[in-house]
């Protein structure tokens, strides 16, 4: 098979074989750059206004998404590129949102018992105990024990006790787990 390297080309390297390209006017780049600077100032100013908790995040994200869209469409040439590249970007964003949604659905619906690990998830009361310790001592290390075992930081000295149910007797194991879950649900109902 002939390779292009071995083929002599007409001198001068005519431009006809080159892809048609879009040269963005300098004014467009400058305009986008200016808009990004203004939006950076806007996002800082908005954060100083003290908008209440969920809405400050919403406003900050609207500004950030606007900035990101400007960068993607002009600096990254998506407006002038084949649509396929935009589809790839939006596809990634879509799957990221799927990931966020499913994880948040899990977190929001988990209740107070992590049945997979068979342990309590931090209860409000426990959180309050730990918080009051932190308020009093102002020291992370001194209040570390107040966190429930197996919570966000695993205690290396903590040996998990599964009630000796590792023997392979699944029916018994499941039964024991059910009882445990029932107990926790009762506690849950009583506590709230």
């Amino acid at each position: 098979m002939a390779t292009p390297k071995n083929v002599s080309h007409s001198a001068g390297g005519s431009h006809a074989g080159e892809p048609h390209e879009h040269i963005t006017p300098l004014s467009v780049y400058l305009g986008v750059f200016g808009a990004l600077m203004v939006l950076t100032v806007v996002t800082v100013v908005i954060s100083e206004l003290g908008i209440p908790e969920p809405w400050n995040l919403v406003v900050a994200m609207i500004v950030a998404i606007t900035k990101a869209s400007l960068v993607c469409s002009v600096f990254m040439h998506l407006v002038w590129d084949k649509r396929l590249n935009t589809v790839v970007l939006l596809g990634a964003v879509f799957f990221m949102l799927v990931f966020f949604t499913l994880t948040m659905v899990d977190l929001l619906s988990r209740g107070m018992v992590d049945e997979i690990n068979d342990q309590d998830v931090m209860l409000e009361e426990q959180k309050a105990v730990w918080q009051s310790c932190m308020d009093e001592k102002q020291d992370w290390a001194a209040c570390k024990d107040k966190l429930p075992k197996g919570y966000w930081f695993k205690d290396p000295n903590y040996v998990e006790d599964h009630g000796g149910g590792h023997g392979g007797d699944h029916a018994k194991d499941d039964h024991a787990k059910d009882d445990h879950a029932k107990d926790d649900h009762a506690k849950d109902a009583g506590g709230h």
């Binding site: 080309h9 005519s14 986008v32 400050n56 084949k82 948040m104």
Partner: protein, 218 residues
């Protein structure tokens, strides 16, 4: 059968024999880069997910955590990175308009802004280490409340991963500058420059979200 279009006098020498045209070669390269960027977005999304989950669980910790961060430093870095994105776009434009001097100047400016970003980051990190603000279990800064070690674990992971991307970007941009010095990218074959540009804009994009999420919680 021999490669018929290989004899096309209008076909540039840099087009590989398995592509129909230079345009197809360039679009394939760009498409590949966009697939990589999609992977990068999902790569970062794991840490962003951790951020979302913990912020939802401990909003008051996030308010206190952002107070520990220097808004001015973060703001300067935002401006520096957006400017470097701008000069990167101008570098690609210089290749399009076949202006080797503008290409080299803009690549150099992009590298300098990237280094400036890392210098600011260095001062931020060393200041925190000096105070004993380390991630997770190594956290040793008395006088703060809430689950601050978690906030800073996420802070260091997110900014650290982003910082690694900036350092890699500096290396790749320096390589492009050497190629530009050798006279490359002036023959219409500058898709390599464009793809590095796309990577650099993505680094900018990540910071556009990190800045309000970490520094401007209030």
């Amino acid at each position: 059968m021999a490669n018929a279009h290989a004899h096309d006098p209008n076909r540039p020498a840099w087009v590989a024999h398995f592509f129909q045209s230079g345009e197809q070669q360039i679009e394939s390269a760009k498409f590949g880069m966009w697939l990589f960027l999609a992977q990068e977005i999902l790569f970062f999304s794991g840490l962003f997910m951790a951020y979302v989950a913990f912020r939802w669980l401990y909003p008051e910790t996030w308010l206190a955590g952002a107070d520990q961060l220097d808004k001015v430093m973060g703001g300067i870095n935002t401006v520096v990175l957006i400017t470097s994105s701008f000069t990167m776009a101008l570098a690609v434009r210089a290749a399009q308009t076949k202006n080797p001097t503008a290409l080299k100047i803009n690549l150099l400016l992009t590298i300098l802004f990237a280094c400036g970003f890392m210098v600011v980051k260095y001062f931020e990190y060393t200041h925190k280490f000096h105070l004993g603000i380390f991630p997770a279990d190594h956290y040793a800064y008395a006088g703060s409340t809430g689950l601050m070690p978690v906030f800073f674990a996420i802070y260091y992971c997110l900014t650290g991963l982003h910082g690694i991307h900036v350092v890699i970007g500096i290396g790749v941009l320096a390589w492009l500058l050497i190629l530009a010095q050798k006279g490359r990218f002036m023959d219409g074959n500058y898709v390599l420059l464009e793809n590095v540009g796309l990577y650099w804009h993505l680094v900018d994009l990540v910071w556009i979200f990190l800045f309000p999420l970490l520094y401007l919680v209030k």
